[in-house]
């Protein structure tokens, strides 16, 4: 055959090139077939190892799982899913540098991918790096998602808010929450979670509004009632809190926390001398009661700390076992003793500043004793809450 061809086309350059081309085509076909089989084999092996790796990861065998995931990735290096899973597994086992390295190389290829950005954000969050976490969470929120884009974006934003709360970055968390609330669908679960987060950021106004949005649709939503009650309570809106908490307790009477919160609310409402729509006599009564309760709290606290005060032992006034503590308590005792004779004036004088003077002292005593002897209970707790919310109390 070769001789025949040689005679027909004797060593022609064209013939040589045609033959070389034919040889190359045959080579491509053979190698192509081989590579197809090879790739199929590799991918099958990759899938097998990946499945084993995930199974081992779920069963807590992280070391073996990582080996298998790595081998899966070696078998199919272009498979981003394997790389992502390996990165996540490394992150979850605390090997943050390696995880970041794998995830960043994925990110380089698809910087817009929401999943990869979320994974990187979680690495940054575990490192405590606010700037990186913010960057990757935002990338995830505005990135491309293969499915349920809105849900995944909300999930990323919620995670970011939780991370910011963890880092006590309340202002940043609030601004994220505002954006999140604006894009929420009418889903009570999501609204509840958002309201809870708002409550954690001390954004009581927006949290209460969110709870009320849920209650407008579902008046009996126990979680929303409880949340609204707690939010109103924290906002110092005790009347509102009382309404919501009463409704919440009536729907869920077994919740001890709710009952305590309601009791505290009731105590505040009954002890608050600044409440509107009460008579002067009632106001004076509350002032006097608050004054006495504060005096008693001061005495109890001093005793608890082993300090002798004039109210207990007048001769030993200002003696202290602990000078550091005795000084503010003794000073408050002096003020309390000096103010006590003034209480009589409450009955005779109107439009004077005595109620403010009394309550200033009461608040000072409650705050100081709370600092020295721990959070009070009952009426004293109510007085402390009134003190804290004095400027914001609306009822």
């Amino acid at each position: 055959m070769a001789k025949f061809l040689d005679k027909l086309f004797p060593r022609s350059a064209i013939l040589v090139l045609v033959l070389l081309t034919l040889a190359a085509v045959v080579g491509f076909a053979v190698v192509g077939h081989l590579v197809t089989r090879y790739n199929a084999n590799r991918q099958a092996r990759g899938r097998r190892l990946y499945a084993q790796g995930l199974a081992d990861l779920n069963s807590g065998n992280a070391g073996k799982a990582l080996e298998e995931l790595r081998a899966a990735l070696t078998s199919d290096p272009s498979n981003g899913q394997y790389e992502l899973s390996l990165g996540r597994a490394l992150r979850d086992t605390g090997r943050l540098d390696e995880a970041e390295s794998y995830l960043e190389s994925l990110w380089q290829r698809t910087p817009e991918d929401g999943t990869i950005n979320l994974a990187l954000a979680r690495v940054a969050a575990r490192r405590g790096s606010i700037n990186d976490a913010l960057r990757y969470y935002h990338n995830a929120m505005y990135g491309v998602w293969a499915s349920d884009a809105d849900g995944n974006r909300r999930k990323a934003q919620t995670e970011l808010i939780e991370f910011l709360l963890q880092k006590n970055a309340l202002a940043e968390a609030r601004s994220e929450l505002v954006a999140l609330a604006a894009s929420l669908p009418p889903d009570p679960v999501l609204q509840l979670r958002t309201a809870e987060l708002m409550l954690q950021t001390h954004d009581y106004g927006d949290a209460l509004a969110e709870y009320e949005r849920i209650l407008r649709v579902d008046r009996g939503n126990a979680a929303a009632l409880a949340g609204a009650g707690e939010t109103a309570y924290r906002a110092g809106r005790y009347r509102t809190a009382q309404d919501y908490l009463q409704a919440a307790v009536s729907t869920n009477s077994t919740d001890a926390n709710l009952a305590d919160l309601l009791a505290s609310t009731n105590a505040i409402l009954q002890a608050n001398p600044f409440a509107r729509r009460i008579s002067d006599a009632e106001r004076n009564r509350r002032l006097a009661a608050a004054f006495d309760d504060a005096g008693q709290r001061l005495t109890d606290c001093a005793q608890q700390r082993g300090i002798s005060l004039a109210m207990v032992k007048p001769a030993a006034s200002s003696l202290s076992a602990s000078p550091g503590l005795a000084s503010p308590l003794a000073s408050l005792e002096s003020r309390w003793l000096a103010t006590k004779p003034e209480l009589r004036r409450l009955r005779y004088e109107e439009e004077n500043d005595l109620p403010d003077v009394i309550m200033d002292l009461v608040f000072a005593i409650e705050q100081q004793t709370a600092q020295d002897c721990g959070e009070p209970q009952g009426v004293n707790h109510a007085l402390l809450m009134i003190a804290r919310d004095r400027d914001t109390a609306d009822e």
């Binding site: 040589v16 190359a24 190698v31 192509g32 790595r70 070696t74 390295s101 960043e104 190389s105």
Partner: protein
């Protein structure tokens, strides 16, 4: 292509049949004129690239399948297989090497170089087959060797076979080996520029513009084929690398120095052990690869399977910060040991991948230590590992240009070019100062061959025209000068020959005797131009190699050396005496 053999004599007897245009097809004849040998050769280079690419793709698949079949997909630590497989396969490979493929021992770079300089480009096809089979078996079974050098030799062998079949001229046939080598290496590395540079630095051993085009064409064609089948992903998934502070160059400089020392230790170990093992009785050659395999298996068995095989996956993991610096340093030391054992035992396989492995581990370790000592350093472990690869390449293989481009091509990141250059330069200088002979030269010398190398060329002082140039004569005549005026001008000067400035350009020369004779003949009113040949003398430039003057000094009494910017300005002259004096050996007074 009028005749494929017109350029020079054919190499083989079969080639003596001239390639003629007597095809019966007019269509063919119409196309034949398009091709001269040069353009035909370039097209053949593309085909060499294609065939080499196909062969290397198959080679890589063969290694992977062998590895999977013999060792499984996961590192078999504490498994008997890791001891038995490299030993048994080592024995099989040894039998094949001793009895069937004796020319495939070692890496293949020197054999390709020898083919170029000694055997007129001849590499038997058996070498390609043997290298393919044995290197795939050896690397797949865990011997600490790489697939790049074998790919280089497979490519060179295929090119040589094709060149012989096409009955190319001797000159072209010689070039086939480096062309195929570049194609094979480019496909193995997925890095065409590095492959071209390496072939120029290590195989050809000289910078030659003539071959560059064909080597590049073959390398690019093979990479295209390789990417076609195996994808365009680089060998490593490069992590994010960064170089931000110039002060960090000091850290990379330290890496360069450490890498240079490690490269010398690596090279010395091979240089010391290889001739001793080769000198052992012939029967021991059957067992040397097996014993090397067993020892490497032991290293793997006791918890370091990373040193087995080419180790690309582990380099990748090192670059992704998976290992602490202590482990990286251990792996670098063990890899030097394992590769030395594999290589000196005569197992076919390459040293590129091991050099990269050692470099990556060493780079990561040095980076880890430096970051431990100086926490403000920002370079990641991956960056140091990447730079480390180039460091060992520069220090061990002594291919500084290739080392820089290899890192850049592999990483696709030009941000780290400065650290790479700094570290590689220091590694190269340290290695060169501690061990003047590069590893490939050492191996060729051990094999009793003397081949040129770029390293030697770097050492050579090149003689230039200016070295032999005499200063311009005091009297320079013009072609328009009259003979009587010239006769008066030359007067009693000692000068016997005078450069003549021709019009409008060029230079000639006239002797005193010629001028005086014409003057006495009463031809004083004639011009100098009428006495001398209209053909100007050849002229030279001061920066040309002195070799270029050799062609003229025998036939011309003087050769003008002119200014490149103004050829009418005479810088000086060279004569046969002044030129030959420069080539004379130094006198021993």
């Amino acid at each position: 292509m009028k005749d494929l053999t017109t350029a020079s004599a054919p190499v083989t007897a079969r080639a003596e049949h001239p390639v003629r245009f007597r095809g019966p097809r007019r269509l063919f004849e119409a196309f034949e004129d398009v091709f001269d040998e040069e353009s035909f050769f370039l097209i053949v280079c593309v085909f060499i690239g294609i065939f080499s690419g196909l062969a290397v793709v198959c080679f890589r698949i063969a290694i992977d399948w062998t590895h999977l079949a013999l060792l499984g997909p996961l590192p078999p630590v504490h498994n008997w297989r890791i001891l038995v497989v490299p030993s048994v396969v080592g024995l099989v490979v040894a039998i094949l090497v001793v009895h069937v493929f004796p020319a495939i021992r070692g890496s293949g770079v020197n054999q390709t170089k020898a083919a170029l300089y000694i055997f007129n480009g001849f590499i038997p096809f058996r070498t390609a087959i043997g290298k393919f089979l044995c290197a795939a078996l050896a690397i797949g079974s865990g011997q600490s060797l790489g697939p790049e050098d074998p790919s280089l030799q497979i490519g060179a062998s295929l090119a040589s076979v094709l060149g012989r079949q096409l009955k190319l001229s001797r000159e072209k046939l010689r070039l086939m080996a480096p062309v195929g080598a570049a194609a094979g290496l480019a496909a193995a590395f997925n890095a065409p520029i590095s492959a071209v540079l390496f072939v120029i630095e290590e195989v050809i051993g000289r910078w030659s513009a003539g071959i560059l085009g064909s080597v590049v064409l073959a390398a690019v064609a093979s990479v295209v084929v390789e990417r076609w089948f195996l994808g365009s992903e680089p060998i490593f998934r490069i992590p994010v690398t960064a170089f931000k502070r110039p002060s960090e160059l000091i850290a990379y400089l330290v890496l360069g120095v450490v890498g240079g020392v490690a490269a010398v230790i690596f090279a010395k170990a091979i240089g010391f052990l290889r001739p001793r093992l080769k000198a052992m009785p012939r029967w021991t050659q059957y067992f040397q690869p097996a014993i090397a395999g067993l020892l490497i298996g032991l290293i793997g068995y006791f918890g370091f399977p990373q040193v087995m095989g080419a180790g690309y996956d582990y380099m990748d993991q090192a670059m992704h910060g998976q290992y602490v610096w202590q482990l990286l340093a251990t792996l670098a030391v063990l890899k030097i040991l394992a590769t030395t054992l594999s290589f000196v035992s005569g197992t076919p396989g390459g040293m590129f991948a091991p050099a990269l492995f050692v470099g990556a581990m060493l780079g990561g370790a040095v980076g880890g230590v430096e970051r431990y000592l100086f926490p403000h350093l920002v370079g990641s472990t991956g960056t140091y590992a990447l730079v480390g690869m180039g460091v060992l390449f520069a220090g061990f293989l002594r291919a500084p240009m290739t080392s820089v481009f290899m890192v850049l091509e592999v990483s696709g990141n030009y941000e780290i070019i400065v650290p790479v250059i700094v570290a590689n330069t220091f590694a190269y200088l340290v290695s060169r100062s501690l061990e003047p002979i590069p590893i490939f030269d050492l191996l060729t010398r051990q094999d009793g061959l003397v081949l040129p190398s770029l390293e030697e060329e770097r050492e050579e002082a090149i003689l230039r025209v200016e070295d032999a140039m005499l200063s311009a004569p005091a009297i320079i005549l013009s072609a328009a000068d009259y003979i009587d005026a010239a006769e008066r001008r030359i007067g009693n000067s000692a000068q016997t020959i005078f450069p003549v400035r021709l019009q409008p350009s060029g230079w000639g020369a006239i002797t005193r005797e010629q001028i005086e004779r014409r003057f006495k003949e009463g031809k004083g009113e004639h011009t100098i131009g009428s006495l001398i040949s209209a053909q100007p003398l050849p002229s030279l430039y001061p920066d040309l190699p002195l070799d270029s003057a050799l062609r003229f000094v025998q036939s011309c009494p003087i050769v003008p050396v002119v200014n490149r910017a103004n050829p009418q300005k005479l810088e000086g002259i060279v004569t046969s005496q002044s030129v030959f004096a420069k080539y004379a050996p130094p006198r021993r007074d």
